[in-house]
């Protein structure tokens, strides 16, 4: 199953973009050290992937919210597929070509665009062929189905990690069993053995990272908020790509220090903070530059993203590494949108709005994500009760043909006016 069009290597292009970003950061009068570390990490991650055919690294392509700690502990090179798709949209503005390649495979526009694009990317060889495909039902059934198709396209063996919906004792035990099965699968196909001591070290590192993410989240609640308006995407990438990696801890420690210092000095991320926002779901990746600019222009900062940055309670225990990996998956902020959105989950959103002192919320309604769009009314009602206005922006996370920059600008400006006028 290949596309009629062969695309240039996407990873090579992402790498070039990272190098360019580093140059731009270096040229700034006061470069943010954590930002520099971030792009270095990204660069190193994609360099290893690019060189994998030469170095003989075993590459496991995996879907989002996957326990990459296990891969790092086995010295297996992870390739986060959705993030790579987002990077393509963010840096290359060339996602339309991958969607076209996906359409050639018969994937309809109703299917989640990152998954259509991923299929297109593999079939047009814009992404290198991995050694195995790993996928799960986290966080939707598009993801659950995607892996089978990717196995067919790439001809790779694959493993489906069946993730339970709720955190009960039997379900946690079931997940641990699933993780064990996956380790056996990886051992069989890679010829590498799981290093349990190494996994314990990775878990200890992850535990520290989760703590730092919580601290950063708290620091972002300061008025004015010290972190860049759309900076939370960096935090997502850190956990998605580098969970348990020491360089990620260094990044988070550096960022934490920078934010602490900014809060101490009362320094906000935008010159004049006017609107504190809650972001619900993912903004369009191809508009990140624009969103950053308009945020600066209007003094609008995303200060909380309950589905991405509010980590659940609990600590990880390196003496129980596999269990810890399972626990972590239940602590993820994204778990709030997995399973029933009950009063507790909705209450947490209200609490997050209160603590972060938000003026409004922006709901990025990804037209290809029926699961999230079904929640618009629920969240709107919760926030309406608190007299917090909600802007619902119909868009697509990677497909630029759904909503233009001009449309988004017009709606955001209306929303800023609405908040200002209250």
């Amino acid at each position: 199953m290949t596309s009629s069009v062969t695309k240039p290597n996407t990873i090579d292009a992402i790498l070039r973009a990272c190098r360019l970003m580093l140059k731009m950061i270096g040229a700034r009068p006061e470069p943010r050290r954590s930002e520099e570390l971030y792009y270095r990490m990204l660069g190193d991650y994609y360099t290893r992937l690019l060189k994998a055919p030469e170095t003989g690294d075993f590459v496991a392509a995996h879907t989002v919210f996957f326990p990459s700690e296990l891969l790092y502990a086995m010295d297996i090179l992870p390739m986060h597929m959705e993030t790579t798709a987002w990077m393509t949209a963010l840096f290359l503005s060339d996602y339309a070509a991958l969607l076209s390649a996906g359409a050639e495979l018969g994937l309809k526009s109703e299917i989640c665009s990152p998954h259509r694009g991923l299929a297109g990317a593999f079939s047009s060889r814009a992404l290198p062929r991995p050694n195995v495909i790993l996928w799960s039902n986290m966080v939707c059934d598009n993801t659950a189905k995607s892996g089978e198709l990717l196995m067919k396209i790439t001809g790779c063996p694959g493993f489906f990690l069946d993730h339970p919906f709720q955190q009960t004792e039997p379900e946690t035990a079931y997940l641990v069993g699933e993780l064990e099965d996956m380790v056996h699968f990886l051992e069989d196909h890679s010829g590498k053995r799981m290093d349990w001591d190494r996994l314990a070290e990775v878990v200890a590192e992850t535990d520290r990272q989760v703590e730092l993410l919580r601290q950063i989240n708290t620091l972002r609640q300061a008025v004015p908020s010290p972190f860049s308006p759309q900076g939370f995407l960096e935090l997502l990438t850190i956990d998605y790509l580098f969970a348990g990696r020491p360089e990620a801890t260094e990044y988070l420690e550096t960022l934490c220090h920078e934010l602490t210092e900014a809060v101490r000095q009362g320094k906000g991320a935008v010159a004049h903070e006017r609107f504190r926002l809650m972001t619900l779901f993912l903004p369009p990746m191809y508009l990140m530059g624009f969103l950053e600019r308009i945020s600066q222009e209007y003094g609008a900062v995303s200060v909380t993203e309950p589905f991405f940055c509010s980590w659940g309670q609990g600590r990880l225990d390196p003496s129980k590494p596999l269990e810890s990996v399972a626990w972590k998956s239940f602590m993820r902020p994204e778990m709030r949108m997995y399973g029933a959105l009950d009063d507790r989950a909705l209450g947490e959103i209200a609490e997050s709005a209160r603590q972060s002192k938000i003026d409004g919320a922006v709901y990025y309604a990804d037209v290809g994500c029926r699961h999230t769009c079904a929640t618009i009314k629920l969240f709107k009602d919760v926030l309406d009760d608190m007299d917090i206005p909600v802007l619902t922006l119909d868009c697509d996370v990677v497909d630029p043909t759904v909503t233009s920059e001009e449309e988004i600008r017009e709606k955001l400006e209306r929303f800023f006016e609405l908040m200002e006028d209250r």
């Binding site: 206005p389 017009e410 400006e413 209306r414 006016e417 609405l418 006028d421 209250r422």
Partner: protein, 263 residues
């Protein structure tokens, strides 16, 4: 200083001149190729009527599809903000307004202080807009102005799609050409009903709250307003000049800026 509000719409451009909270004059012109020319023409007409010109002391606030492109504006505001100001000035009891323009439909909700609190709009499909009605009138070979009276004579309503302008068009063609053809008054009433269904769906997105006003050029169509009232189940507030409400709101914003010292 006088306050001038200009709403640059896709079909017409409206201007309202205010002084001390009173409308001094207003104008409506057909929009030309450029927003700047349309706005200038509407502004000059409104100002000329009271012996003024753009060189006089006038604070200009623009809104609408082309509001941003007006070179002589002092300020540009979103249509939603201006509609809220305009409708609350005319009807302080209104909590909701349905603005039906030439190419878009906007629903706004306002609070008891006359401030905008929510909105919903549709600008992706022509169904339910002024240009859609123009096209339907053409298909029926009836002047648009007569469609309202025609629809009020209907004893039944033809079944017309509310979801898509293209589907609606082919359904109207099929009603016109069937044997015997569906009476024109029933088709006209069916078209208005389809628009009313579309309006209702959009209103429900933000929740219907009484009292409800209708604005925009389409609100001049009494046949459509009558069916919309029937669907809503209560009377709607219709301003004397519904197409000028956003321009009036822009003028009120201009006045606020003058009073607030920013003008």
């Amino acid at each position: 200083m006088k306050a001038l509000g200009i709403d640059v719409g896709s079909l017409t451009t409206k201007a309202v001149l205010l002084q001390d909270g009173q409308v001094l004059s207003s104008s409506v012109v057909l929009s030309s190729d450029t927003a700047d020319l349309s706005a200038r023409s509407a502004a000059e007409q409104a100002l000329h009527r009271v012996g003024l010109g753009l060189d006089d002391e006038v604070y200009v606030t623009t809104t609408g599809a082309g509001g941003r492109s007006v070179s002589f504006r002092h300020q540009q505001k979103a249509i939603t903000t201006c509609l809220a100001r305009g409708i609350c000035h005319l009807f302080p009891s209104a909590r909701m307004a349905i603005d039906m323009g030439a190419e878009s439909m906007t629903i706004i909700k306002v609070n008891d202080r006359g401030r905008l609190c929510d909105w919903a709009n549709q600008d992706k499909c022509a169904a339910g807009t002024g240009v859609f009605l123009q096209q339907m009138a053409k298909l029926l070979q009836v002047p648009l102005e007569e469609m309202a009276a025609l629809s009020l004579q209907a004893r039944a309503r033809a079944d017309i799609s509310a979801t898509c302008a293209v589907f609606a068009e082919s359904e109207v063609i099929s009603h016109v050409h069937r044997v015997p053809p569906t009476p024109k008054e029933e088709i006209a009433a069916g078209i208005f009903l389809s628009v009313a269904h579309r309006v209702m769906a959009l209103c429900k997105r933000i929740g219907i709250e009484k009292e409800v006003a209708v604005t925009g050029g389409v609100a001049l169509n009494s046949g459509l307003v009558s069916i919309l009232q029937e669907e809503m189940g209560f009377d709607l507030l219709v301003p004397e000049a519904p197409q000028g409400v956003a321009a009036l709101g822009a003028a009120i914003v201009a006045r606020e800026s003058i009073e607030g010292g920013t003008g």
